[in-house]
Symmetry: C2
Subunit: 405 residues, 2 copies
């Protein structure tokens, strides 16, 4: 990692200056043990803002509202609930999203147009606005509230996901913080994924959008199958400039330090999501190199990480490389069998299309760890990509069979 | 079904005239209980032949050989083994495929160019040619051998899949028989699927190919995700004309009766495959109607049938229609939420985008049956499609974690 980057201990979304947060239990998320279900992120001053949103044609009207408000490039707060997704409820969804933002605006004493509203949870059920109305009044935002907010956005997540990183641009030191929710599942993307980021660096809005889109493509979208997105997926970043200094744009000296910090935090959060599949015990990292082009590298890496047969084999610590080859073959990426080399945990199992006799027990033993690395070299070009997924266990199925409508 | 079609009791691939088959245990399939693992299909006279093959870029060289030989439009026999796929073994795969066909040709006393060779099973292991050479000599083909052949091609299949249907064209009565192997899995297509068909009707080779391609698109490919095909997938049909009468072409009177018979048998075999997933207990039939075009209808139906979250919900007999909507939304098909109507077992759960409050226990009770029907009306156009899949159970994962390399 770049020497100008430094992970903060216990870092979270309120680690950057003048970002406050808070959460409460409003009563929406009846099925979870970790009861916080409604939270607010607030910046003491208005921010530049950027976001990327689900491509699913069936989308929550909260997403539609946020997309519109983020497009202005300015925002100051976010209210979010877990438990109910505000999706597939007709036009009522827009009324409720606007009201939710408006309740937070009144509570915070700011313009309602500067507030975003986000939801995650069950589809097809209307938001219980009375509970939200009552809940908002109980939220106190503070500089220590980041961890509570990270807990409040969880649904099936086993752990909270939060990080902060310090970076230097133009002689100034800034912080970038972030929280996320989502779990790896079989198609990671089918569970709603939310990520919220904050920085006290003064980032120009259009540069912020450009940098975010690029980072999301190499992180959250790499635990994703193209097009397989949920109704509510959102990644939103706020920049309040409280760290001082000149506005950071595409042309600023060291602007790449900011984009690198953003990449690092997005990848860290994405890996946490990939690892947190229901019943999953291992993180699978798939690296494809030597692809003809970048799109092929991504297709191939994601196809392997998404294969349920590969996931099952890794769960069983079985170096079944044939399943990796099959997933590679149908990925859509250009593949020439006679050029492919394949590694599990750095042990070469196939070289230039020829299987290598290997000691199965030894490779299997390396797969007992919490992370399993698959590497494929297509030997066709110079492009590479990395994708992440989790293994699939019997518990995954139990869990998703019993999850209530 | 057309009145001119009639299912035969205990019908199989040797039900049509002058088709013989036989199988033996050669020792390849060490892991299965049902020991037959090498078989031959033989017609007493040369046939017209047609085939469709996997689109996976990693493919068995047996498939490459068959594709070449089928393209001549003429064949007389097929030798097939289960246990080892003859895939990912470099150029040796072609040598072995040719030798396998040649051994059968010598045994049957026919031209080796008229023999096809097919394999299914583990990837990355060379065919044990000594076992095959010895095994071939033990095979006796007979008009009663169809069921033995159907057993010999099984790998993880729980049941044999075989049917025959009688049909009339131009005043003549003919029989069409077929066998298949494959199991539904999560991505049905990732397990190798083989289907072999035979008819004593005299079908013109190019019409045979055209009819087969069309039927496969509406049957085997509808238990399949586009592009997700295994290394060895093949569907091959032989027509020996032993039933007499004039050659059947595209322009023959009643030629549509033949294509309908072919559709029926392909759909019947495909449904058997979909139902036979490891640990699966239910067949899921997804019908999408009102799509803008036929491709959209197929995309939407397959996306829903392939969703692991939908499969998990159905395993738990949980009418979780939100997961159906999500799969619809990312399918790539054009969808307008406010127009969608959705039914589980004919109970309407959503009408024109508005969820209908329904009695969950009653709908759940209807899902306790062996077949669950999902119907979606997109209300955008006139096209429809049907896809089939199975539910996913805890046993699926156990099975695929333990399946040995």
């Amino acid at each position: 990692m770049n020497k100008k980057l430094n992970w903060l201990e216990n870092g979270t979304i309120t680690s950057p200056k003048k970002f406050l947060a808070g959460a409460t239990y409003s009563g929406i998320r009846t099925y979870a043990k970790d009861k916080l279900d409604l939270g607010i992120l607030y910046s003491e001053t208005p921010c530049t803002v950027a976001g990327t949103f689900t491509k699913n044609q069936i989308r929550s009207l909260s997403v539609v509202l946020d997309q519109k408000r983020v497009s202005t490039g300015r925002s100051q707060a976010l209210i979010v609930n877990s438990g109910i997704a505000n999706a597939c409820v007709g036009e009522q969804g827009m009324t409720d999203a606007i009201e939710m933002a408006s309740l937070a605006a009144t509570h915070l004493g700011i313009d309602q147009e500067l507030v975003l509203a986000s939801s995650t949870g069950l589809i097809g059920v209307e938001l219980p606005m009375a509970l939200i109305k009552n809940g908002v009044t109980k939220i106190t935002v503070s500089p220590d509230g980041g961890q509570a907010l990270a807990r409040a956005i969880k649904t099936t997540d086993r752990v909270s996901k939060e990080f902060a990183i310090e970076f230097q641009v133009g002689g100034n030191s800034y912080i970038l913080g972030g929280i996320a929710k989502g779990s790896g599942m079989i198609h990671p993307d089918m569970a709603t994924m939310l990520a919220f980021l904050s920085t006290d660096a003064p980032v120009n809005a259009s540069f912020l959008q450009k940098a975010l889109s690029k980072s999301v493509a190499e992180s959250f979208n790499m635990i994703d199958v193209d097009g397989d997105t949920s109704t509510n997926d959102s990644v939103i970043i706020f920049s309040n400039g409280a760290g001082g200094g000149e506005e950071i744009t595409d042309n600023s000296r060291d602007s790449d330090v900011f984009t690198e910090a953003l990449n690092e935090i997005c990848i860290a959060l994405a890996k946490e999501i990939a690892k947190d599949g229901e019943g999953a015990s291992k993180l699978i990292e798939v690296t494809v190199q030597g692809a003809s082009n970048s799109n092929d590298a991504k297709l191939a890496a994601k196809s392997i990480a998404a294969s349920t047969l590969v996931k099952s084999a890794i769960h069983g610590e079985d170096p079944n490389w044939g399943r990796i080859m099959v997933a590679l073959g149908y990925s859509g990426a250009k593949v020439e069998e006679s050029l492919v080399s394949l590694y599990i945990n750095n042990v070469c199992l196939m070289e230039s299309g020829v299987p290598i006799p290997f000691f199965k027990d030894a490779v299997s033993l390396t797969m007992a760890e919490e992370e399993v690395a698959i590497k494929v070299d297509l030997n066709l070009g110079e492009s590479s990509a990395t994708s992440w997924g989790c293994d699939i266990s019997e518990e995954y199925v139990s869990f998703n069979s019993e999850y209530t409508t």
